[in-house]
Subunit: 330 residues, 2 copies
């Protein structure tokens, strides 16, 4: 890394530490662009993280998640909390253009300096999305937000993975036909700490609530039992009980720490960080020509990619040279 | 690798080459379990792949994808094709238990020796799902199926990534309110080669069709323009036109090869394979204690995981020893 780059990064980190929003935004952009500086940034800020309540909000499209978040932000602001919202958008992988709508509703909060709203494009992420989400949440924690709300729209494996980041995961559904079943099919019931049946003024809300409660009951077990709440976010109804359950769950987590689970969590996080960095380094090294001939043979279709991977990996020196810092810094 | 393991693997590969379904199933299980043998298997079978038409079927839950696939399989069987269906289930990441229903409808084909149906659990996959899907499709291609149908249920980033595997991607929707918009918000319009509005006997089918056609029109450009078809899979209507469009798209791909795109595709595949193997090796090496002290410090919370990753990666010898074959074979 050159001295100039180093200096720029130091300035950015110092402004970040002073609470400069622009510095926060710039660091998030580094993560989005998978800059080579991300590892340094994360290492420096990691120890500053860990005080916020990270709340995940997920559920099928059209469940009213954004409106619900909007209402929650209002309540959190009334408590004088600093709030960050990270919306992980199913925007196009090609154009990067999200359809308007959800974002617009948050309008009131955009002008509030106590609220930071950022959406993370899924464009071209190819598996890097949950890693980027983890890093951005660490940045937001290090920036000393009190509450961080992570919204994933859509239902899928990456979205389930991202919800792992949250201390408290709220699964939002609506009283439409078969919605309780869809939640269960999508595996969302397994990650829910709190269920919300939104748009509860529609027919069937009580039925979906009963389905979800039965599911919670059948799961049984000790410990936290996910409550099922009815809300009408659009009419600002049911938000206070949701806030109370969020508080209750955070309190539960504080009084029920499991040292073994924490050790596992740290080990899991480490593997994710290490493999993420290996992946970035391998991509850069291949792109930069450290393994030019091999890549060219694969590109031309002359060499089986699995054979090429084995050739690289079987050679301790080659893989050390490919991934070690010395070569990459040349 | 021990001689006994080697022998067992050789027998499996030889039975696979003779068309033994049980050997195919065993190899798929190796992939699901992320066995250390997967790299060897893929290297051996990679060159046998590449003749099948890989068709991706995706779209929101409840769109009738399974019924549509059921009808397509019937048509393909009438042409005497050998057909594989890979259903990628949003089953629980914890219990691994999928809710019954979708799978049941395929009942007729389960007893047909010309059809192979397999569902891939998403349980505990954490980012490895699209890699596993790619490997299983390579296995199915190497087994010489004529058509391979990959179904992803749910809508999300991983599901979009998986559709990259398909030669032809069919996006299925229904005439429900706002469904066309949801498709676009989820980025599905960008990956569609063919749109299907299923359950077209319901109100609004023509409107959704018009929305999707407008979207195709606005995208403009040369080359393939995704047709929008109306189907009623449950009533076996509209399936023949879909078959014709699948044929037409395959023919289009055959007559419009882009050497540059193929080179890029191979390079992309190689990076994915290499980083996947790096990830597996790193996980195994960390688990097996090659970096015991470091991992223990992270687990105990004494060492920042980003610092630990940097320490490993900055040391060429350490990373070579961690990932190189010699150490892992000890």
């Amino acid at each position: 890394m050159s001295d100039a780059t180093n200096n720029r990064l130091e300035q950015l980190l110092s402004r970040f530490a002073q609470g400069d929003r622009l510095a926060l935004a710039r660091l998030i952009t580094l993560v989005e662009n998978r800059s080579a500086d991300v590892a340094t940034v994360m290492e420096r800020l990691y120890s500053r993280a860990g005080q916020a309540h990270v709340v995940g909000i997920t559920g099928p499209p059209g469940a009213g998640k954004s409106t619900l978040i909007d209402r929650l932000v209002t309540k959190l602001r009334a408590r004088k909390q600093q709030v960050a919202v990270l919306a992980i958008d199913p925007s196009s992988p090609f154009s990067g253009g999200a359809v308007l709508g959800d974002r617009v509703r948050m309008g009131d909060h955009y002008s509030d300096p106590g609220v930071y709203i950022r959406s993370l494009s899924t464009r071209g992420s190819h598996g890097g999305l949950s890693r980027a989400a983890r890093q951005i949440v660490t940045l937001l924690e290090a920036f000393k937000f009190d509450a961080i709300i992570v919204e994933t729209a859509g239902v899928g494996q990456t979205e389930l993975d991202i919800m792992d980041l949250a201390h408290t995961t709220v699964v939002v559904t609506v009283p439409e036909g078969g919605d309780g079943i869809q939640i269960m099919k999508a595996g969302l019931n397994e990650i829910a700490d709190i269920f919300v049946v939104n748009k509860a003024d529609r027919d069937g809300a009580d039925r979906v609530k009963a389905e979800l409660e039965l599911n919670v009951h059948l799961r049984g077990g000790d410990g936290w039992r996910p409550p099922v709440l009815l809300t009408e976010a659009a009419n600002d109804r049911g938000i206070e009980p949701l806030m109370q359950q969020l508080d209750r769950h955070l309190e539960y987590l504080r009084t029920h720490t499991d040292p073994q689970a924490e050790r596992q969590h740290r080990a899991h996080e480490f593997v994710e960080i290490l493999t993420g960095q290996l992946e970035e380094r391998a991509k850069n090294a291949l792109g930069n020509g450290s393994a030019r001939e091999l890549v060219e043979s694969v590109r031309a279709g002359r060499l089986n990619p699995y054979t090429a991977a084995r050739m690289l990996l079987d050679d301790q020196t080659a893989i050390g040279a490919l991934l070690g810092k010395t070569v990459l810094d040349c």
